[in-house]
Amino acid sequence: MFQKKGHEINAPDNRGGLRGWLERRYKLTPLFEFLQHKEVPIGSHWMGWYYLGGITMFFFVVQIITGVLLLMYFQPGEATAYESIRFLTTKVPFGWLIRSMHSWSAHLMIISLTLHMFSTMMLKAYRPPREITWVSGYLLFLLTLGFGFSGYLLPWNKLAYFATTVGTQIVASVPLLGHWLLQVLRGGQDVMINTLYRFFAGHVVILPLAFVGVIGLHLLLIQRQGMAPPVGETTAPRGMKFFPSFALRDLLLWLACLMVLLTLTVFLPYGPGIPGMDWELGEKANPMEPAYPGIKPEWYFLWEYQLLKEFPPHLFGIEGPQVCLFAIGILLSIWAVIPWLDRRAYRNVYSPGFSDFGWAAILFLLFLTLAGWDIGAGAAGAELSSLPKVARVCALWTLAAGAVIIVVRYVVYEHRWFLLTFAALLHVALHGLAALSYLLAGAIALAAAAFIGATLRLLRSRNPTT
């Protein structure tokens, strides 16, 4: 694959030392030459976006190292899971450091992965010939969420137990197979020690194997195809040598990430104290205890959790959660097949509509995540009476964020396509400020966007110069 045309790979290598020794056996010259010639495109956008994949991989490597160290002490079992983690963090030298690094690195990995995914989406790097790279990245994103979900239960503490109970319950809403899937996931009717065994097996064997396979494909494709040049160009106007320029920059960034990770680990060993981003061990799980109010899933699942809450118990004669899961499935599927949906990018032409779709998705997720956190509820917490206030405050934050995004896009990036961003903002405004139900507000916003879009298309078809 790395063989350069015309290169005689069977020529004897007379170099001495390790390089010569390796060369005589493994014929590495084509690989070295490939790497020497490999370039990272420098185009019309910020280079920083290219480093996010590497940062994500750095956190994944940290996860593997700290995970293996945790594995040396962790003992899955009803009487040992919690106790072994407690022993590790209190008695084992630097045990606290390993657990805290594992937790922080997990969250930072999801953050960098999300940014990587959105930057890839906005830069249309998914366009041909890199569709499979996008799909494999998308699979890696889902697997990472799986890591987060399965790892959360392993300390077998109260917080994790009830959050997992709530989280796994969602599966029951899958039509027809829901209860069977729930049983498969939990290993029984309820979250019990069998669930821990399953999650443990998933977390340390099944998911890593799948992840290594998919990330192998992802990296192979990136090496084979190189990084995507800016839209409209098949090759970049300029390039940066991968070795040593880009690789050393990558290394510099990884060291900076390690610095940040260590600092966070020492000063905030249990996380920033935000619900859904808190891993203080607390009390041991007791399945006989009733669930306590205010249980939140991890922050990256909050949008789904909040969306489920926004659906009524029944919709169109179907159970609300089922409709919601169907809607989530549709949204995630759209995200997976974007390379084929974005026809303009497919033709290597700038596609402002899909950029706008990405920004609308960010605003959509932002509102739901803020509402899931009960931002604006104050002391009332998650009580029913505080819901309108939460919706209002979260809508105001989302509108403010939306306004900043529009101004920056208009002025800095000279975007002129805001239809879906407008629909997302109209949605939260109608829901939060005009007190319409979330679904009705969403339907009105979509209808308004469709009407405006159709009108613009009509005007454009009548007067192609506009």
Binding site: T89, T90, K91, W96, S100, P244, S245, L248, R249, L251, L252, L255, A256, L258, M259, L262, T263, V266, P269, Y270
Partner: protein, 511 residues
């Protein structure tokens, strides 16, 4: 061969089931008519809930209801609706349906408000009785109803020849007869055994020894309480029933009905001739006991009767105060009994516990009561009565300083522990020491009642040791945190240097 046999068996089972169904008691036509009757607006008079309740009645009760309808003790759908809406359990319903008194008096068609048992009377409405009180009465449940006290035969034909048993003459003026009337059963062990074998039968004997008893039976004072003053007349409930007037949480109000009433209590005097106060209820409500019982609902906290007694209620004498307190506070009382103070208090004729803690107004104790300063209990008393013994003052100061130090250390280390835990440090050893310190502090506060330095020192010593250990552990945890910070600084320094080297290399390469 098997199939015909199965079919035959199925038919047989169906036939038996059908015949069993036919054997169920059906409502007589008049009762059926009442059950389906509608008012002028076309709405059913007997509600759906009441209908469901009727359908769930057993055959015996349905039969009794049929009989009541045929005898016309239940003659109107409105009356039937009232009886069914009570939703009584079967045993009570059986008593009710055989009781012509209640059946007749619960029908508003037969009675004017002054003799009616109304089911849900408006507050302040003039009705003879609340029907719900009648059926909830503990006596009614045991099968004793109106006739149990009023006489007559409730199952016999209707009539009003039922007042023979009442000492009618002057019964409102002199209520001394009430206690004897109740005692006919309640002081008879044989009779009471049939109803409630665990209920004592000495109430009257005790009552006679009490000031209440003397006032009622000897002085014939019409303000004196009798059984009904505390237990009620109709609607009497068992003492363990939260709605009973003598349920622990209701006792203070029941006693206060008289004892907090200045008019009622006017003229009553204590043994020393001073007027009997009426502030006890207000004082009790603000006391540590009142807050526990009335505020938190802690039934372990004492009500009036815990110290004063029930039927033999009397103010405890000076000698008895500590005995009342020691029923719960046995450790403190035991230590006090062996202390020097016991003798001194007896010489002064002081009521032991009450002298320092008060009686109805007992407040939560605090460490400031100790010590020799002005306004401190020990100091104030010793300056007045024991000036010749400076060692006592030194002991009081020692007590005060020790418990104060332990208390402050406990709070201080708890706050430290919380801060260190938030920093991710292992605070379990500190928590263990805090638990031991808390135990030692509790014991030390108790051993103050020994008023002996040696005894106190023995229980305070583990607390002092816990303070020392906790201090060491906190220092160790802080050192560990500093070590982590230093480690981080060194790591960042090394990483920073590495980054700098990389950066320089990169610049060199790109030149």
């Amino acid at each position: 061969m098997k199939a015909p046999a199965l079919i035959a068996a199925t038919f047989l089972i169906c036939a038996v089931a059908n015949s069993a169904d036919q054997g169920a008691v059906a409502p007589v036509p008049k009762l059926a008519e009442m059950l389906s009757a509608k008012d002028t607006n076309g709405n059913p008079i007997v509600s759906a809930e009441a209908q469901t309740y009727f359908n769930g009645l057993n055959d015996r009760l349905k039969e009794l209801l049929n009989q009541a309808v045929e005898k016309e003790t239940v003659s109107r759908p409105e009356h039937l609706a009232i009886l069914l809406s009570l939703q009584l359990r079967p045993q009570k319903m059986e008593v009710l349906l055989q009781n012509n008194c209640v059946l007749c008096h619960s029908d508003s068609a037969n009675h004017t408000p002054d003799t009616l048992f109304a089911p849900n009377p408006e507050p302040g409405a003039s009705v003879h009785m609340n029907l719900k009180d009648v059926v909830e009465d503990v006596h009614f449940r045991q099968g004793l109803s109106c006739a149990g006290c009023h006489g007559g035969d409730p199952a016999a034909d209707l009539g009003h020849n039922h007042v023979k048993e009442w000492p009618e003459k002057d019964r409102q003026k002199n209520r001394a007869w009430v206690v004897a009337f109740c005692a006919r059963c309640h002081s008879d062990p044989v009779k009471m055994h049939d109803y409630n074998p665990s209920l004592p039968t000495d109430q009257l004997a005790k009552f006679k020894t009490s000031p209440h008893g003397h006032l009622l039976l000897d002085a014939h004072d019409d303000r004196a309480p009798s059984c009904v003053s505390c237990h009620g007349v109709h609607g009497i409930r068992a003492a363990k029933d939260p709605q009973s007037k003598v349920y622990a949480r209701n006792v203070p109000e029941t006693c206060g009905a008289c004892h907090a009433n200045e008019t009622t209590m006017a003229g009553f005097k204590r043994a020393d001739g001073s007027p009997l106060p009426t502030t006890q209820l207000a004082e009790y409500r603000n006391s540590v006991h009142g807050k526990a019982l009335l505020g938190r609902g802690d039934l372990g906290a004492p009500a009036c009767n815990t110290c004063h007694g029930n039927h033999a209620a009397s103010p405890p004498g000076v000698a008895q105060v500590s005995k009342s307190c020691s029923l719960c506070h046995s450790a403190n009382a035991g230590l006090f009994d062996g202390s020097k103070h016991k003798q001194a208090f007896d010489q002064h004729n002081w009521p032991e516990c009450g002298q320092c803690h008060g009686n109805h107004t007992i407040a939560k104790t605090n460490d400031a009561m100790l010590g020799s300063g002005q306004g401190q209990l020990c100091g104030d008393c010793h300056r007045q009565f024991a000036q010749k013994n400076p060692d006592c003052i030194r002991t009081a100061d020692y007590f005060h300083q020790t418990v104060t130090r332990m208390d402050e250390a406990k709070n201080h280390f708890a706050a430290d522990s919380e801060r260190l835990a938030a920093k991710g440090l292992d605070v379990e050893p500190i928590s263990n020491q805090l638990t031991e310190l808390g135990d030692a502090l509790k014991k030390s506060r108790t051993y103050i009642h020994s008023f002996a330095r040696n005894s106190f020192q023995q229980v305070a010593a583990p607390g002092e040791e816990s303070i020392r250990k906790a201090d060491e552990l906190v220092k160790h945890a802080r050192a560990e945190y500093r070590y982590r910070q230093s480690g981080l600084a060194v790591s960042i320094g090394i990483i920073g240097l590495l980054m700098l080297a990389l950066y320089l290399k990169l610049r060199q390469l790109e030149k």
